[in-house]
């Protein structure tokens, strides 16, 4: 492997709060991908749906990673492991985890909608807010008025 040093990225206009919010959302996607791996294992009757959600989060994680790289920053990596907020032992607790993941991710993306410094980040975030709202409902979450901003409007 040749050891050409990577060029130092030029300072980007999207560095700052917008990038912090993007990194926070990316950290959330990493955790979410991990969480769906756990939840999916306990959802044998809805395996296809869980796999679909996992695939969607992976592709959004990758898209977000690419936008952070394009902004000249180093995208945060996934942690080697995550502690679950509560034990996942059956379909009910797996669905509860999925709802929690989607709701918290929705809040991170709602922050990113406001903070995004590029139209691409804004668009990804807006669509993610909608997707996480709908996905939370499919796992049994309750509809809300401002999914991602509830209590903050």
């Amino acid at each position: 492997m040749t050891t050409t040093p990577a060029p130092t990225p030029a300072p980007s206009p999207s560095a700052g709060p917008g990038l912090d919010a993007a990194q926070a959302a990316l950290a959330g996607e990493h955790a979410c991908v991990y969480g769906y791996g756990v939840a999916g294992a306990h959802l044998p009757d809805r395996a296809e749906e869980a796999l679909g959600a996992l695939t969607a989060h992976r592709s959004r994680r990758d898209a977000l990673t690419a936008l952070i790289v394009a902004a000249g920053a180093e995208p945060g990596a996934a942690e080697p492991g995550y502690a679950l907020p509560s034990p996942v032992t059956d379909p009910a607790s797996a669905q509860a985890l999925a709802v929690l993941l989607e709701q918290r991710l929705g809040a991170l993306y709602a922050d990113l909608v406001g903070a995004a410094a590029t139209p691409e980040l804004r668009e990804l975030a807006v669509r993610a807010v909608v997707a996480s709202s709908v996905q939370a409902l499919t796992w049994g979450g309750a509809p809300s008025a401002f999914p991602g901003l509830d209590g903050r409007v």
Partner: protein, 171 residues
């Protein structure tokens, strides 16, 4: 498919027990307490005017949806209980949008929207509400993308999320 994941899952659990200080999933996903209200000075005048228009259209959209909910609930009392919690969301959307800043001169947030026609069968009426919710969500997505103000963009995005959810609940 998941049997493989299950084995991996077992491995992860062991890993979790071994890795001291593994971050708590909830911590990585903890909703940022950041206030989405803009803290910087407002943008150029033209951007502000454009945002007023976006907000005004969103207010109109909420009023139209509220009129549809009311008409459907009146025509089909059996649907009232289903619609009520969702109607309450539109009340919240409308209140947030109206409270968020100026609306065009002469605009009345209490303006009456003409009652829409309602299908004679309950299923058809409910399907019409679901379709209207989805269409409103799409409009809100476009408005959020166009909004200059970060606060307005975030509010519109979450309203889109709420209405897309209504579309799913009612479908």
């Amino acid at each position: 498919m998941w049997s493989v994941t299950q084995r991996v899952d077992e491995g992860r659990r062991r890993l979790l027990a071994l890795v001291a200080g593994a971050p708590v999933l909830g911590a990585a996903l903890a909703a940022c307490a950041a206030d989405p209200r803009p803290k910087a000075a407002p943008g150029p005048r033209s951007a502000l005017d454009a945002d007023v228009k976006l907000r005004w259209r969103a207010v109109r959209s909420e009023q139209t949806l509220l009129a549809l909910h009311a008409a459907v609930a009146a025509a089909h009392p059996d649907l009232a209980a289903t619609l009520q919690p969702l109607t309450a969301h539109h009340d919240e959307h409308l209140a947030a949008l109206v409270a968020d800043g100026p609306l065009p001169y002469g605009f009345s947030p209490d303006a009456v929207v003409a009652a829409p026609e309602v299908a004679g069968d309950a299923a058809g009426a409910l399907a019409a509400v679901a379709a209207a919710e989805r269409a409103a969500a799409d409009t809100c997505v476009a408005a959020s993308l166009a909004a200059a103000g970060p606060r307005l963009a975030a509010v519109l995005a979450t309203i889109a999320g709420s209405e897309a959810g209504h579309g799913v609940v009612l479908a």
